[in-house]
Symmetry: C2
Subunit: 163 residues, 2 copies
């Protein structure tokens, strides 16, 4: 299995393709995800949007997924997972779990205490919700009708230390 | 009593003074608040940070408070109150309530369904918490140790329609 490394400019097209192929994301969401990608590519760590790609095992230029996370503004050690996506051709390959594990290790290495993940309550996100539960995340909060009427925001969390 | 109007460049020093005088805000928080102010001054409504000041009754160039709110990314009609501050000389003058009422009316006028307000659980925010409760806000969620260990995030909300 491949390894995670910081995203570089030449990965941009692959990441865009992966986001478009997922199917769950609206055009608006893909645009927002790419805005964060571009802030990372322009400013690196200073952007606050730490962005990594997961290489396929064989070809270091072939990307099977990406993720973006960062310390939440005005917090000490609380991180948000902003985006994560795995190439649909590689779903069920364990790459999503590999990406999340990498984020967790990286956050702990940076002194982080906790990772929060926000997601929609819509049925189309059922697999996503199961995935986070399987990875050891619990629901910290639910904001009813947050995204739109009938579409709640779920906030998952995992703590890495008692602080 | 004065009226609310969109913030302009010449209000910047007054807003900065008001933020510094409040006492509750850390240097980091003031810096973050001014970054949003500057995005508003540079890009207006396109910034997503709708920023208004409350004039004193007598002098339109004398500002007694300001606030910043906007539609939360990827939502339809869910607004966040990012910042609100009232000149310490004018606390207990009803200006905070006037600012919040103005934001609510403006959000309803723009088709908003709900306003969320995040604040710290620290004792120094006790008056702030009472203020939001008095203005009809309820707690939607609490994220334990969010800002730092012992400092939870409280998310207040008010709905303007059943959606």
């Amino acid at each position: 299995m491949g390894k995670s490394r910081p995203m570089v400019q030449s990965d941009r097209e692959s990441v865009k393709d992966i986001l478009a192929a997922v199917g769950n994301f609206t055009a608006d969401e893909i645009k927002t995800a790419l805005e964060l990608v571009d802030e990372w590519l322009a400013s690196g760590e200073a952007s606050g949007y730490l962005t990594y790609v997961l290489e396929s095992g064989s070809d270091p230029f072939s990307i099977v997924g990406y993720m973006c996370f960062g310390e939440a503004p005005l917090t000490t050690g609380t991180y948000d997972l902003y985006w994560i996506a795995v190439d649909t051709k590689h779903h069920r390959g364990g790459f999503g779990k590999k990406l999340v594990r990498f984020a967790e290790e990286e956050i702990v290495r940076r002194g982080g205490r906790m990772l929060l993940i926000e997601t929609s309550s819509l049925e189309t996100y059922g697999a996503t919700i199961k995935f986070y539960e399987g990875a050891g995340y619990e629901i910290a909060a639910r904001i009813k009708d947050y995204y739109k009427p009938g579409d709640d925001k779920l906030i998952f969390y995992k703590r890495f230390s008692s602080g």
